[in-house]
């Protein structure tokens, strides 16, 4: 596991991946097991039906229908909790990848070897994709097992597609935080900006669904491209997916020259 920067970084993620994995699995299991109970509680569905439309909108594409599995999992898992967890992991990793190592002072040490800077960025980006995809897969697998065991009627493929959507959304912000770390080796700054941007764009999308003058700007929010297609119901939408892919590629590609050009802090 110490053959190159990629494997060494992945190895360093080991424990963190384990605990994040446990957390995601626990969330999937609990949500799945609670569903049959909630479905049969008329008071809950009635309460939800009586919510104002704008509030419903904030919880995801306008449908809050706990009587259907799609509605339940969309609202409870995919509209907020699941992408949030992936997002936190991703931003945390993106920030630590370059800026974190720089603040610890080991970047000098690493770069004194015949390893080009661009390769360090590529390998760390690779670990980011692999570990986030792994977490997403573990989440999907445990959810798939649970819904099958409980006989909940929902397409496993659609669950996978929704999970991929959340993964891509999280990767956008994770890659952005990696880029900020490449731009300036300041962990706090990268964390603050990426986290702040995530909150702002989330608000832009949800408020944009109720506030008229914000409506035209919703497309600027990655959360809009995540929520809009209602993936759990309709499957992956290629157009919105391309927006994610474009953003990820752009942030990754500009990371390299800015990192090559700047001074490494002591």
């Amino acid at each position: 596991m110490l053959n190159n920067v990629f494997l060494k970084t992945l190895r360093d993620q080991g424990r963190s991946l384990l605990f994040w994995g446990i957390g995601l699995v626990a969330m999937a299991v609990i949500m799945a097991f609670v569903y049959p109970t909630i479905k049969n509680m008329p008071s809950v569905t009635q309460y939800l039906e009586e919510l104002p439309a704008s509030v419903k909108e904030m919880f995801g594409a306008g449908i809050i229908d706990y009587t259907s599995p799609v509605g339940y999992f969309s609202t409870e898992l995919f509209s907020f909790m699941m992408p949030l967890l992936l997002l936190i992991f991703g931003i945390g990793f993106g920030v630590s990848a370059i800026a974190g190592e720089e603040e610890k002072g080991t970047l000098d040490f690493l770069l004194s070897n015949p390893v080009p800077r661009w390769l360090v960025v590529v390998e760390k980006f690779g670990v980011m994709i692999v570990s986030m995809a792994l977490l997403a897969f573990v989440f999907w697998a445990s959810l798939a097992i649970c819904v099958s065991a409980l006989g909940i009627e929902i397409s496993l493929l659609k669950l996978a597609e929704a999970t991929i959507g959340a993964l891509m959304l999280a990767l956008v912000f994770a890659t952005f935080s990696l880029f900020l770390g490449c731009l300036k080796g300041d962990r706090g700054l990268s964390l603050g900006i990426s986290g702040g941007l995530a909150v702002l764009t989330y608000l832009l999308n949800t408020l944009g669904s109720i506030v008229n003058w914000l409506k035209d700007y919703r497309f600027l929010s990655p959360f809009y491209h995540y929520m809009q297609p209602d993936t759990l119901k309709n499957g992956i939408d290629a157009g919105h997916m391309l927006v994610f892919l474009g953003l990820i590629v752009v942030f990754f590609v500009i990371s390299i020259p800015v990192f090559e050009r700047r001074d490494i802090a002591v």
Binding site: N3, N4, V5, T106, D108, L111, S112, P114, D263, V266
Partner: protein, 303 residues
């Protein structure tokens, strides 16, 4: 690359961090096969020079080559043949010493592991414990092993003896001497003067970002102010000893003369020979004093 060329050549190498000066117009040559001492107090620009040579930071003026290769364009090729020890050494705390060396070995390739083992045991290196649990001195030893382990053509060591106990320092000096015998070139920065005196062939003195002088140890010493104390059989006239070239600060107390001498002692000794000399005490100048001399000269020039 032929055998005579300079390992390091910088011309007007300048680095400003924004408005703050790192180094300014440093012209430095390190010859193949020598041990070069880079001497200066903390904050003088030693680490800035080194980190520029390794392309961790980019010069704001001038240029530098290592092995005749431009540091900006060929840093990877340069790194391949360099062994580097960081000034404030930071290692991966979650790895053991052994893991760290294996990782670095994999990044470089072509490591002679028997040699690494020998090196680690010579420096009495703790390899099986997690680095985060090691003392500063033990980390430093690990840092030295990784700098030497691939038998690099050029060793760049920033304050290498920090935290080493005296026994290990001696072992380190032996390593440096062996490296020179093997034809390796060493660039060693330090603010510890006896250290460079012990192992270096030539010394560059840097202060406030400027390279003040580059000299061999011998020349530096000959520039040095030597303190001399001569005891005579009887009282001596002070005026005979005043005005001798190179002799200053003459103090006569009855039968004892104390003074500072720069350069040759010849005239002073000849004058003293006119009287009955009981004893001559010479205080061999340490580099510390040489250092201060250069500093003071520099200061006086500025004023």
């Amino acid at each position: 690359m032929n055998a005579n060329d300079a390992i390091v050549h910088t011309s007007k190498l300048t680095k400003f961090y924004g408005k703050r000066l790192g180094i300014e117009e440093v012209d430095l040559d390190v010859k193949r096969g020598e041990v070069f001492g880079y001497l200066g107090p903390n904050g003088a620009g030693k680490t800035t020079t080194i980190r520029t040579l390794l392309d961790f930071i980019h010069p704001t003026g001038g240029s530098a080559t290592v092995f005749g290769l431009d540091t900006r364009r060929n840093s990877i090729e340069i790194h391949r043949h360099i062994g580097y020890l960081q000034g404030e050494l930071k290692l991966y705390g979650n790895l053991t010493g052994k893991d760290l060396l294996r990782y670095l070995g994999n990044l470089r390739g072509g490591i002679d592991w028997n040699y690494v083992k020998k090196l680690a045991s010579r420096l009495d290196c703790e390899l099986s414990r997690k680095i985060s649990t090691l003392s500063h001195g033990n980390k430093q030893k690990l840092g030295l092993v990784q700098a030497f382990m691939h038998k690099p053509e050029f060793l760049v060591l920033d304050e290498p003896t920090q935290g080493l106990d005296p026994l290990m320092q001696q072992e380190f000096y032996r390593l440096i001497t062996e490296a020179r015998n093997e034809g390796q070139t060493v660039f060693l920065s330090s603010h510890i003067l006896p250290e460079v005196e012990k192992v270096c062939d030539r010394i560059g003195i840097i202060r406030q970002g400027r390279l003040i002088t580059v000299e061999t140890i011998e020349v530096l010493k000959s520039h040095a102010v030597r303190q001399l104390e001569i005891h005579f059989a009887g009282a001596i006239p002070k005026d005979r000893f005043i005005g001798i070239s190179g002799v200053r600060d003459v103090v006569v107390e009855n039968d004892m003369l104390r003074c500072n001498v720069i350069g040759s002692l010849d005239t002073l000794v000849k004058v003293a020979a006119g009287f009955e000399v009981v004893n001559i005490l010479s205080h061999e100048p340490s580099l510390e004093e040489i250092f201060m001399t250069y500093y003071n000269e520099d200061k006086n020039n500025v004023k």
